[in-house]
């Protein structure tokens, strides 16, 4: 066993034991604890949990690689801005009001505010989006185990499933939230330490956000030597209108994702919901402002390392990752085909996913840090997976079983159904992680567009415009969703592969779908039956944080 494997194992065992201990200490026995942690999580902890829930294996493992390699710097800004800007919308437009409204899930709000058709569409969308996501997380767990511990993907995924099973089934939202707080701490430390170390080593400035500026000129110079477009140059990969469309789709999609929205129900009060959003964006910004620095530093080092080198004297990290097939020749063949000729950065293809995992090795940092990064990646994947699994479980147990099948169900019956749904969801997620369907990666990026085109408009209008009708919302949601979905099918390479209209990419169409949804909902609401006076008064009341009678009656289920 190598040093790196030993340290990875040590960190994995320590962190997993902590998660299991927390889960045992915060086990729950009622539905309120299971779904929303009894609505009793303090804001900083809730913020950390939101951040861990939000930052998936993709953020931790792939983001820096996507920004630095696949999108060549500037164009990667669509992800950096898109995946953070949505929190401003959440904080200002949704979080405080949804918290005042109470209840357990996103479909709860949609169903109570509008009607049962709308609730049904919301349940379906929430479950589909969550499964697509969770498959990616389990695959991430598999990747880390394969690379760092030399066990098969299947074993890796099964270990991950067992851990999640233990704390999610036992502790529900309460167990998940407190575990996520621990997982956030692990993942942010694992992300920042190598970034700070590399920045200090290369530039003498320990703050990677500042050190980044010092290497930009050198990086642009090297890019030019390799015949690549300037790293900081605008619109070398994506045109201006498409930058706007894609960024907007990711922002509005973030504000419409069920597993993010539900987190604001776990806050103690309306005020705590606002503070949760603040803590969440702060914790997320720590990683998201570091990621572009990691991208630049690592790319610079890779270009220096791979500049007229040969296989015989290639650096160690190059061999480690080409052995597992994550570095290939530019045409996708094994690197052995390069023979004894010298090659450079542009002659090989480096997988986006290895930038962060390999950055300590590339930067020449010691083995314990490499092990820590592996533990961080596992924390990121497990925390997001558990949050998504809870959405699936609560949608089945609360929105389908309790609201539709058996409204007389007792607390313990509901809890049992929730736990069984959770266990089944974990099994399905594990299966998807071991045998990922080819379209998962594509669909994850598109899930944001679908969320933007379906949920965001009807949530905002439902709060800010009392006269939004059920028929308007249902029509808007269906038109926005089907338009976006149809365009994606038409333009995605694996299905239609068409050029599309005005060269709008499938990742950006969600913005158009959202605007159409707004227009349709408003138009149809003009001609259809207005919501009852009582509902209009209720919507009025959720705008004020203090104690109000209608909301209290609604919480108690008397309305």
């Amino acid at each position: 066993m190598s040093d790196i494997q030993l340290w990875t194992l040590i960190f994995a065992i320590i962190t997993f034991s902590v998660y299991i201990y927390i889960a045992y200490a915060s086990r729950v026995s009622d539905t309120s604890g299971f779904y929303v942690a009894g609505g009793g999580i303090p804001a900083p902890a809730n913020g950390a949990a939101i951040a861990a829930d939000w930052m998936s294996a993709a953020s931790f493992i792939s983001l820096a690689g996507i920004v630095g390699l696949a999108y060549n710097g500037y164009a990667g800004g669509v992800f950096l801005m898109g995946w953070t800007g949505g929190y401003v919308l959440l904080a200002l437009l949704l979080a405080p009001y949804l918290r005042k409204f109470g209840k357990y899930t996103l479909p709860d709000f949609v169903g109570d505010r509008y009607n049962e058709t709308a609730r049904f569409v919301a349940v379906l969308a929430a479950i589909v989006v969550s499964f697509v996501y969770v498959a990616g997380q389990m695959a991430g767990v598999g990747l880390v185990f394969t690379r760092f511990l030399n066990v098969g993907t299947t074993t890796g995924v099964i270990i991950g499933m067992a851990i999640v099973f233990f704390y999610a089934v036992l502790g529900g939202m309460k167990g998940i939230t407190w575990t996520q707080v621990a997982q956030y701490s692990v993942l942010i430390v694992a992300y920042l330490i190598p970034a700070v170390a590399v920045s200090a080593k290369v530039t003498g400035v320990p703050l990677p956000q500042i050190g980044f500026g010092k290497i930009l000129e050198e990086l642009n110079g090297l890019q030019a030597d390799f015949g690549l477009a300037e790293y900081s140059g605008a619109f070398t990969q994506i045109s201006m209108p498409n930058m706007v469309l894609i960024t907007a789709a990711l922002m509005f999609g973030t504000a419409g994702l069920p597993h993010v929205i539900v987190r604001f129900y776990t806050a103690k009060s309306v005020r705590a919901a606002r503070y949760s959003a603040l803590w969440a964006i702060f914790f997320i910004a720590l990683l998201y402002t570091t990621a572009p620095s990691v991208a630049a530093f690592t790319k610079l080092q890779i270009m220096k390392d791979l500049n007229g080198t040969t296989l015989a004297d290639a650096p160690g990290w190059f061999n480690t990752w080409s052995d597992v097939g994550l570095i290939t020749t530019a045409s996708g063949a094994p690197v052995s085909e390069l023979g004894s000729s010298s090659f450079g950065y542009t002659d090989v293809m480096i997988n986006n996913d290895i930038i962060v995992l390999a950055s300590p090795e590339i930067g020449g940092l010691p083995a314990p840090i490499v092990g820590l990064v592996a533990a961080g990646a596992l924390a990121a994947a497990l925390s997001t997976a558990s949050g998504l699994l809870l959405v699936i479980s609560s949608s089945v147990a609360n929105d389908v079983y309790y609201k539709k099948i058996n409204p007389q169900a007792s607390e313990s019956q509901q809890l049992m159904v929730g736990r069984i749904a959770m266990a089944c969801a974990i099994l399905v997620a594990g299966y998807l992680g071991i045998n990922p369907p080819g379209f998962v990666a594509q669909v994850v990026a598109l899930a944001f567009g679908l969320a933007a085109a379906s949920f965001f408009p009807i949530l905002v209008l439902g709060i800010f415009w009392k006269k939004t009708t059920a028929a308007g919302a249902a029509t808007g949601m269906i038109v926005g969703l089907s338009l976006t979905f149809a365009y994606m099918l038409w333009t995605l390479p694996i299905y239609g592969g068409s050029e599309g209209l005005f060269s709008i990419p499938p990742t950006g169409i969600g913005t158009i779908g959202m605007l159409v949804n707004f227009a349709v909902t408003i138009a149809v609401s003009q001609f259809t039956k207005k919501p009852s006076q009582q509902m209009q008064d209720l919507v009025e009341e959720i705008r004020y944080p203090g104690r109000t009678s209608l909301v209290a009656q609604h919480q108690a289920g008397d309305l």
Binding site: Y87, M240, R271, I281, G546, Q555
Partner: protein, 92 residues
């Protein structure tokens, strides 16, 4: 709260939101994308300014915007006496 002060509270809230969301759009879509080329002419601490906004500046601005929102809403709540927040409002 009576109807008049409710309306005043809501109007203040909407005004605050409008200001913050305008800044949100100007910084991300404006400085980070639409006006990125002229801004890139300005270089500070090694960063072309437009590039910096798209990679880091907009994210820092988002944190500040939410902080200002939280702070102003706390003041507004206190002013209108609605700072007695509901706790534990879920099903019994």
């Amino acid at each position: 709260m009576d109807d008049a002060s409710r309306q005043a509270y809501w109007r203040s809230n909407l005004r605050l939101m409008a200001v913050l969301l305008t800044i949100w759009a100007l910084v991300s879509f404006g400085a980070g994308i639409v006006f990125v080329e002229p801004l890139n002419e300005i270089v500070i601490a090694g960063f072309p300014l437009g590039f910096w906004f798209s990679q880091q500046g907009s994210i820092i601005t988002f944190v500040v915007l939410i902080a200002v929102y939280v702070w102003r809403m706390d003041k507004l709540d206190a002013e209108y006496g609605v700072d007695e927040y509901e706790q534990e409002v879920h099903h019994p």
